[in-house]
Symmetry: C4
Subunit: 124 residues, 4 copies
């Protein structure tokens, strides 16, 4: 079907605040890696995290079914490692089927919320 996008994706900036304005899941501070697999085969992706002062962790495998999007929240990662809070990190996502990657962050530390979003940088 689609023959695009099986390229490594890079997101140099991410940060998950430990504080949130509400325990409501929709409003808890988080980073989301949004993967779109618009193809007709299941896709495996490998996520590696890079830090400022320690070795990378990963690659960590995740699956995205065909014709589905999957929105991976940093708060939900726990096996085999979790994403540290209040810590700057970067992500490299390697899809083994064509997939598109976008990063979105909700910061709800204050009594309001703030969003930021960016499409991953793609190796050419």
């Amino acid at each position: 079907m689609f023959t695009f996008g099986a390229k490594i994706r890079f997101i140099p900036e991410a940060y998950t605040p430990s504080q949130s304005v509400s325990p409501d899941r929709a409003l808890v501070s988080h980073v989301t890696a949004c993967i779109l697999n618009a193809g007709d085969r299941d896709a495996q992706i490998a996520v590696t995290l890079y830090f400022e002062d320690r070795d990378p962790v990963g690659p960590h495998a995740r699956a995205v079914s065909d014709c589905r999007t999957r929105h991976l929240r940093s708060n939900d990662l726990s096996d085999p490692w979790s994403v540290p809070r209040d810590t700057s990190y970067a992500s490299v996502i390697e899809p083994f089927e064509p997939s598109i990657v976008q990063h979105t962050c909700l910061d709800s530390r204050r009594t309001h919320i703030a969003w930021l979003s960016r499409m991953a940088w793609t190796s050419v």
Copy 2:
């Protein structure tokens, strides 16, 4: 005139909150797909939505006149399907004439508003 941009566009992340701080249309939470047709022929576009836990819907056709921009709000889609609220989804937009696509989201669930915006990812 212009010979750019007749390429498939991908936006892996979208989410339309059901709550809004105000019923004023300008402040209601929404996602907008902004299409620019800077060419001199009318453009048809086909929008398909992808979800985490159900089959894609679409393609859904829309027209953008020549030398016009069209800002499609998620809240205004109703025929043949509407965009579910409080649900993560992704979009694929296929223009049949050269057009540019950008996504913008207004989140007004809290007593303030928050914006996020991203240019669609383009197949090369």
Copy 3:
């Protein structure tokens, strides 16, 4: 010096709210087109605006000196035309020397402020 970037830039989405939380220039709602001319020759740029329900206006010429950035605020455009408030529009920027374009919007309608920013889409 640099040999990049003399390409047409497209920003499908822009909107300048008429309301602002403060008359302080730094906090007035506005859209800014940020042009970077990192080369060693002055650059002319031509800006054209596209709307949903009327013909485009422009091209409108602006100059960016060599080795300078210029941040054009929508509120400051007045000759020969101004940018209408509370109106969706799109921009096409054509630089005649290599230049980079980014769009940033400050929305200060509410008692807080909200930012959104996006790099212009580039014809390949």
Copy 4:
């Protein structure tokens, strides 16, 4: 390992407000240039800042270790020059090893915070 990304990066827009809602480092207004060096060799980068009304400053050298990310905050730059507050500027970042660059800005002038983020534009 990776053979991507040794390209010049451009960020036309940056602005570091002098005001902040809190002296807490995490909440002080700032701009961050986030560099990811996912390769296996240390990377040198050269940062040059461009202004609206004065000559560029730089290049200013920084190092990013192999397999690390480095998040350079505008507030921390002091040698040989600092980033002026309340001043529009642009950045050009030249990596001498493959590296990815993203810009993020926290604006905490008001009693809430606002984020904006954008991937740097890449010369092709």
